[in-house]
């Protein structure tokens, strides 16, 4: 199926890979269907593209590649309530949303509100780790970079 994207024009992707976000993304309650895009020339980054609104796209990273000490705790009960419970070899994928700033070195990652995706059920949700010490703007690059 062809979909319109914010950054990559119209591209063809397999329908079976579409993700449902039944609760939307916080602040975007209408955004409930997404495609998770990866671009060969942008390794390490994922793009959560709203299928109904090309303008809505979130740039994401896998948090442990950038923040090895990152910790996330979500109870089994909470996951089950979201349809994200894990059986056997099912896997949850965790991403965090990046705010790309100008200059690039000021870009930040939102460690407080990770996006959790159930690979098999194709369901995703943005959780908020409100009891953690994480904030919404963690620098991805050292402050002195390029200076």
């Amino acid at each position: 199926m062809k979909i319109k994207t914010k950054f990559f024009g119209t591209i063809e992707i397999e329908e079976g890979t579409f993700l449902e976000f039944p609760w939307g993304v916080l602040g975007f309650p209408e955004s409930k269907s997404f495609a998770l895009l990866e671009m060969p020339d942008l390794p390490g980054f994922q793009f959560l593209q709203d299928l109904d609104n090309p303008y809505v796209s979130f740039t994401m990273i896998q948090p442990w590649e950038w923040f090895p000490d990152y910790e996330i705790q979500i109870s089994d009960e909470e996951l089950a309530g979201m349809g994200l419970e894990v059986h056997g070899k099912d896997a949850l994928e965790v991403f965090v949303i990046v705010t790309v700033n100008d200059p690039m070195k000021d870009s930040t990652a939102n460690l407080m509100a990770p996006v959790v995706i159930h690979s098999k059920n194709k369901i995703g949700k943005q959780f908020v780790l409100h009891d953690s010490s994480y904030g919404t703007r963690h620098r991805m690059f050292q402050e002195t970079l390029g200076e």
Binding site: L42, G44, G83, V128, H130, R137
Partner: protein
């Protein structure tokens, strides 16, 4: 008697329903959300919330913070995005 009926008063102020409650008393929203006043402390109060587990419940300032960041992330700089093509820059 006048004081008792005070508890049953229900009025709207700027589209906000305003109810009087005492510690231990509850409010029900729909069939499945209960908000109970647990304790009134000096300068604050503790409330307990029973709701289906698929409902997101957050302190409003936290919610606002995440929504603000999501919007900002969504408006990410296109030109800067091209620089992501060098993801090793700045990585240890």
């Amino acid at each position: 008697m006048a004081r008792d009926t005070e508890c049953f008063k229900k009025r709207w102020v700027n589209d906000m329903l305003v109810l009087n409650r005492k510690p231990g008393e509850s409010i029900i929203i729909g069939d499945d959300i209960e908000i109970r006043i647990l304790e009134v402390t000096e300068g604050g109060l503790r409330i307990g919330i029973e709701a289906p587990k698929d409902r997101t419940i957050l302190r409003k300032e936290i919610y606002d913070q995440v929504v603000t960041e999501n919007r900002k992330a969504m408006e990410g700089d296109n030109r800067q995005l091209q620089l992501l093509k060098k993801p090793d820059v700045g990585r240890e």
